[in-house]
Every structure is written in C-alpha cells, then in structure tokens.
Amino acid sequence: MTKKRASKSPRRRSKRSKRPSLRSWLPGFLLKLSLVIFVIGGIGMIYLDAQVRAKFEGKRWALPAKVYARPLELYAGQQLTVADLKRELQGLGYRAVQRISEPGTMEIARTRMRVYSRGFAFPDGDEPPRRMLISFNGNTVASIRDDKGRNVSLARMEPILIGGIYTKDNEDRDLIRLDQAPDYLAQALIAVEDRDFYEHAGVSLRGIARAMWVNLRSGRFAQGGSTLTQQLVKNFYLTSERTLARKLLELPMAVLLDAHYSKEEILEAYLNEVYLGQSGARAIHGFGLASQYFFARPIQELKLHQVALLVGMVKGPSFYDPRRRPERATKRRNLVLQLLADSGDISEAQKLQAQKQPLGVVKQKSLLKGAYPAYLDLVKRQLRQEYPEQALSSEGLRVFTSLNPIVQARAEQALVRTISNLQKRHGKRVKELQGGMVVTDPQTAEVLAVVGGRETRYQGFNRALDARRPIGSLVKPAVFLAALEQGYTLSSLLDDAPIRVEMSNGQIWEPRNFDKKSHGQVALHRALSNSYNLSTAQLGMEIGLDKVVAMMKRLGMERDPKPYPSLLLGAESMSPFEVAGLYQTIAANGFRMPMRAIRLVTTADGEELSRYPLKVKQTVAAPVMHLVQYAMQEVVREGTARSVYQRLPDSLNVAGKTGTSNDQRDSWFAGFSGNRMAVVWIGLDDNGKLPFTGSGGALRAWTDYIYREKPEPFMAAYPDNINYHWIDEATGYRSAEVCAGARQVPFIKGTEPDREIDCGQGGSFKRSLRWFQNWFRQD
C-alpha cells in the first residue's frame, strides 16, 4: 500500500515540474514493472503448468468409438471357401507369405490355408494368437488343426474394424503404448526429429544449431529445430490458433512438460498425437492409426522400411504422401534409413536391405474402415438413441456389430451389377437408377448387410433405411396370413373380379390386375403366387382392413399403417429395412425377433455397457405361417418369381414375394432361404416410372445375391396339426394323386375340404410338383 501511495505522489508533483520528477520516477517504475512482470509471469507459469499437467494427465485425446464387424468363427463343417477366408484375412491385413512365422501372416494353397492369428481380447474372453492349418472340402471347412496337429474345435478370428464415430474435427486415432511400438520407431524419430531428446530439457539450442548446420550442408530442409517435446506441445495444446502469443507459449510449456514427465511418457504421447495424413474429412493421428491406414496392419507388425516411411512423413504428411507422391516418399524414407545408419541404430546392411523394399502401402480402396457407410449409419442411429454424442466420439467405446463382410460384399456386387445391367438394357430412362438392400439371418434376426445405394462407399442417402416407398404386393402375405387365420384355406376359391370401394372421403378405389384381366375363381394360393390384385382386394375387404393392419403390426411393423383399402395392395410406404422386419418374422416361422445390428457395446477396457440379446416372441401361429410359406414357395416355383430357378439349382428351396408399386415406380423383392433373408428395392430417387416390374428388377438382384451366397435351403418345420391333401385346383375339392389338376396342399387339421371329386382314377396325368417335396421336414 505504501508503494502505491508513493507512486501516486510523483505524478501529482509532475504537474508542477516535469523534468526532475521523470528522473526520480523512472527507476521506481522499472522496478515495479519488473515486479509486475515477475508476478504475472509467475502466475502465468503456474497457470501454464496447471494447464500442461491437467491436459497431459486428464483425458488427452478424444477417442472415437471403434465399430467392429462380426468376428469370423472357424469350425469344421462350416460353410466357407478358401476365397472367403482369404478375403476376410486380407481385410484384417494379413500378409500372404511362404511360411507363417508371426501373427498376421497366412499361407494360401488351393484347398488348405495356414494362418497365424493375432488373437483378440473379446469381452467374453481372450482369444490367443495361434497357428492353424485349415483344410477345405469344396465349400466347407473340413478340419482345423493347431501346430501340434491337434483338432481345434472352434477358433475366432479378430473382428475387422469397420469404422469409428468421430468428433466434429474428425480426429481419428488408435492409441498405442510405447512398448507396442515396433523396433526402430523411437530410434528413428529421435534420429530424425530430435537427436538430443534424452538430454535436453524440453528445448534444445544444440538441436536448433545442428539442424541449421545439417540443413545447410545437405542443401535442403532435412531436420527441424524444434524438439519432439516442442512439437508435442504445439500439436497437443496449441492446435486451434497459430498466433504469435501461442507461439511464444511453446517454449515455456515444453520446459514445463519436460520437467514434469519422463521422456518415455512424452514420447508415447508424441507417438499418439502426431498428425500423419488425411482420409477425406478424417484426420489420421498417431502411428497406431497411420499403420492401419497405410499398411492395413497393427503397428507391432511393421518392418524397418515401413517404420522409416512413417517417421519420414512426420515432416509433411501431405508433401510426402506415399500414395500420391511415391517417389518423394521413397526418397524421404531412404533418408530416414540413412540417418538411422549414421546414428548407429541400424547396420549398413540393414539400411541397404530396407532401402531396396517397395513402399508397401496398401490401396486406400482396400481398407475396410469406411467401406460400409450404410451399415455404420444403422449402427450409429441405434447408438445415438442410447449414448450421448460426446461419449461416442471421445470415450473410445468398442461396438461389436453383426456385419458380415463376406455377405456384405456379395450383396453389394449383386445389387450394383444388377443395376448396371438394367441400365444397359433400358438405357437413358434409368440413368439414375438406384437401389437399397438389407440382408438378415432369419434364425438370429441379426442384420448381416446393408447396401444404401449404387455407390456403396458413398456416405449419402441411405436407401435401405430411408427410401420409404409403396411396397406393392409385398404386403400380400400379411393379407393372406390374416385371411388364413380367419379360417380361409389355401384352396379356398376367391373371386378375382373387379372391385369398387367408395372411401369415407368420397374417393373411389378401383384396383386392377397387372394384366388388366379378371381371372374368375382362383384358389387362394394361386392368387398369392400369381399376385392377383382383384382377388386379394376382395379377400382383404371381406376379412376387414383392421385384421390386415393388426397382422402387419404383429409381423413387426412399428408404425401404424394407414387403414385405407389401398393398403391391401401395398400403398403403404416402407423402407427396405422395415420390410425386412416383416419378412424376418415370416422366415422365422412366426417368431418375431427385433432385428439387431449391434451385439455388444463395451468401454475401451472391455467392460460391458450394453448388450442386445436375442429376443423372441411368437406372434403368428406356426401352422398358419406354414401355409403362407407354402404359397410363397409357389411364388418362386410357379408364380411371378419363377425366373429364380433359371439360375438357382432346383435343390435350393427359397420362398419370397415380388412387389411392384402403382405405375411401376418401385421394384421390390423380399425372400428367404434357410439362413438368409434379403429385401431388395430398386427404383429412382425422383420416384419416376420404371420400365420393369419387381421380377424384372429387384428379383434379379436378389437371385444374383442368393446365387453368390449359396445359402442353406429353406426347410419348413412341419407343425403337428398340418396335413397335406390332394386337392383339385379348379374346384377346391379333395382329389387324388392320379387326377388331372390335382396338387398337394397343406391344411390345418379340421379345415380340409369335405367334398371330394372323382376323376375316374384312370390314366390321367399327374402334375409334377417336386418342388415342395424336399421342402418340409417330416418325421
């Protein structure tokens, strides 16, 4: 206080005489100024120190959630080809070698593969790394043996990382510990970036001097003057702005950092912080992620030349981008190798050997991270219902999904190829043709694949989830299920006659058949397999719209469909994903199971946060479902989808339904085999008319997918109270095998027709209906 008062008095005096007062004022001022600077500086240092420590010790990085595909289970008897396994392992970055010697390698022969797996810490237990000899027999795994020749009953490969959930600035990284760093990584970094790293106190004058000297001597900018610690400070604390003030903070912060933490801690932080590239909007940070991004394998497996390349890139990730600038990158890498040899970290022979290596960078397209935007979209939507965005993008959560990359690849190929074939055939009108597809396993209700459009890697409009289109005849199984529950049978005769319904708003609904004809009296199963609109509309109006609406909801529709008569012919708009929910229940014999894309979410350490177990609820009785499954088999054997068996073998039982919306704007097919259920939509985003129907478009993609997938055939359960009878199709009466026009049709006990026709039992031809004979199981 006294000082303050004293400082005021000279000023008062100065008004009277200026000169002497200045002389007496100046020293005092300087003293005070330096004191203030000292205090402010001290406070500043304390503040900086607190900041340095808080950031370094607290949460250092926003770690995006990691999303994994399903791990491939390997067991004898499994349906898997050498090509499938090779593809999966390539997705995991396994190297094909002459002789497996370390984790992440494989030997490929024609019918056998040797694999040295990496192992993985699954939430339900560790899978150890192991050597396996896998023998194939055609499409199946014949045996798996370990390196001692013993049978391995079950092995789980590590899951492919398919994506992450990033913060707004799109930073992505894979944290590594210093002890996970491959040989020479630390040495190379130190040799190239900061030779006095272990000696200096965060800032190195010698380093700056030497860098200048090296640069002068070599005639180019080979070394930078700032230490690793300074670089870390710059990236770590001062990222957003690059003002002079911030630049000035770098030195004291580096010193503080060095004072507080060990060299190892600083180096580890550096390894994870450094920026090494850009993948679209995603910024590649840290050596762990860079290793995956450039070499598609974990950092532990990198070789000397690869380590040298990454270290070389620190200086200018885009300038030395090995994908776009391979020559520049090679030169830089070789310089790093030279520096390593100069410092004695590697021998001359090692240097020469490494310099001879190709860059070995994988094509960006071969990386599976980011390859499944449509599936990831589904996963994210589900996660966002349960987790705050911040937790998803920064807590490093691990998300285990059901995505099957092998199935996904086949579905993509089938849809993309079909669309391009349709474009070739129909020309300009379908230039913008698009599609969406969902594949599930009907037994587990897991979503195996999602295709959001023609450009499968493009993260845009996700048609599988968001293209809500009128489903057309895909609704018919729901109408028929409701009718069968009301006592109709497959052989009930329906009137396929014109129908006119006046709606409450005065509008008239007057549907027509696709061929614009009436077909008279038709058997119910025939009405479904030939997809007759008039008889379906008659039937639906007879049983009541409420029954149909209720059936759709029982099958799994989560919204309330609009109860207009046009609902009966599929006026309701649904996405392929929603349709999959309905058909999933049909394929699972009436057991409704919510479709699941996520199996488990854990913390970064593997602690379980949420799981999504199988949930089942029988919503439609098995016998009724059996009847509609019969009719849906007829669709593909004799009805609107019979073209399926031009490509599929007779023995592969499938069932499904075609769909075409009004004015032919949407082409649909939904169908299933024993272990796959797939829904395909093909159409135009602007809702334009198509020059083909459901069977001309979506069915082709579906068939192509099933052809590639070679799934298990659909085999219906044979419920207790179902009996098969020979029925005369024209009358719906009982008939006999030998009679013309007779076919075997299943009935729920007690609903079989009473009346019988007599065809004379002589010489009439028998209708061949082999298709369903190997369909159901009977004991």
């Binding site: 067991y75 008897g77 199946t140 049978n151 177990p613 199988l614 075997q744 190997n774 199981r777 009977q778």
Partner: protein, 194 residues
C-alpha cells in the same frame, strides 16, 4: 434309403456326444410328402423309415430327392447331401454348450449369454441351444423371454419327442416360477403326452 443307413450308423455312434445324458432324440427325415392320396378323413402318416429310428442325434437329414440328383444342377451347391450336418455332433457347438453350462452354473450369466448366442449362430436349429437359452433367462428371472425361447426350441425340435418333452417340462418350470400354476400344469400335461 440305402444312402441313409451309413449316416444313421454314424449318428448312432455319435449319439452320446453333447447334451444331457438322457437325451434320446430322433433322426428327422425330410421324405417326400405322402405319396398316396389320402382318403377323406384319413390322417396322413409319415412313411416308415426302416433303419433310422429313435436313438440318434437331431440332424438335418440329407434330402433324399425323388429324382436322381443331377450333378449339373447341384454342382457346387452342396445342398442336397453334404451341408445337412448334425450340429449336436459338431465339436464347436458341443464345446460352446459345455462352456455355457459352466458359465451359467458359475453365475456368469452375461458370458453364458454371449456363448449361447455364438452357439445359436452356428447351429440355429439345435433345440439344445434354445433349451439352455431359456434356462439362462429363467435363472435371470426373465420368464417371458424364457418361455418364448423354449417355445422356439419346441418348434425347432419338431420331430424329436424327447427334446420337446424336455422343453415342455422346462416351460412348466418357467410358468411355475412366474406364478402361473395352471399354465405350468398345462405344459406338464403336454410334456407327458409326448
């Protein structure tokens, strides 16, 4: 039919692998639908399957197609003969069911749940998987799910009276636990009839 005999013999040998000790299960056979026209009112019965009777594991029996298999059409589609496999004899499923039981008995219900789902993905038509899933849910006190899983098991056990009986008995226990005594009795009566 001749093709079936060696398969059946192999299955008889493998019959004791996996599952509880007293699991007597039946081979299911998908034969063609009844070849005779049924007289009105007559209940169509399954054709006899000599040589394949009661004591072998549940299996998706290879389809014996009524026509000679055409190698051109079947080709690489190993659907008529080879993909049909016994899951119960599949060591992977046996191993998973074994560790699930251990995990369940040791009280690690979450791990048991994960293990059973792995088994289900490999062998979705194996009733034992649903039996164990239902048992797990029962232990967790989730009676509704337990019952539904057991019902799903009953459906996939179609053809195996013994397995269906076990499942109905389990449903009886589940309903009993949930306080539904009448429902429990009904389930037990069903089990007795099998």
């Amino acid at each position: 039919m001749r093709k079936l005999l060696p398969v059946a013999a192999a299955l008889l040998l493998a019959g004791c692998v996996g599952g509880g000790a007293n699991q007597v299960v039946v081979v299911e056979e998908r034969t063609p639908a009844p070849a005779r026209p049924a007289a009105p009112g007559e209940v169509v019965t399954a054709p006899d399957t000599p040589g394949v009777t009661v004591t072998s594991p549940v299996i998706d029996q290879p389809v014996i197609s009524t026509t000679p298999s055409d190698p051109k059409s079947s080709g690489s589609w190993v659907v008529t003969q080879n993909t049909a496999q016994s899951y119960r004899t599949n060591p992977a499923v046996v191993a998973l069911l074994g560790s699930a039981k251990q995990q369940m008995d040791g009280g690690s219900y979450r791990a048991a749940g994960s293990t059973l789902e792995r088994a289900q993905r490999i062998a979705p038509r194996e009733p034992e998987v649903y039996y164990q899933m239902a048992r797990l849910r029962l232990k967790e006190g989730e009676w509704k799910q337990a019952e539904q899983l057991a019902l799903k098991g009953v459906q996939v056990a179609s053809g195996s009276n013994e397995m269906q009986r076990r499942l109905w008995l389990l449903i009886g226990d589940i309903r009993e636990d949930a306080g539904d005594r009448i429902g429990a009795q009904r389930a037990r009566i069903k089990a007795r009839r099998l």
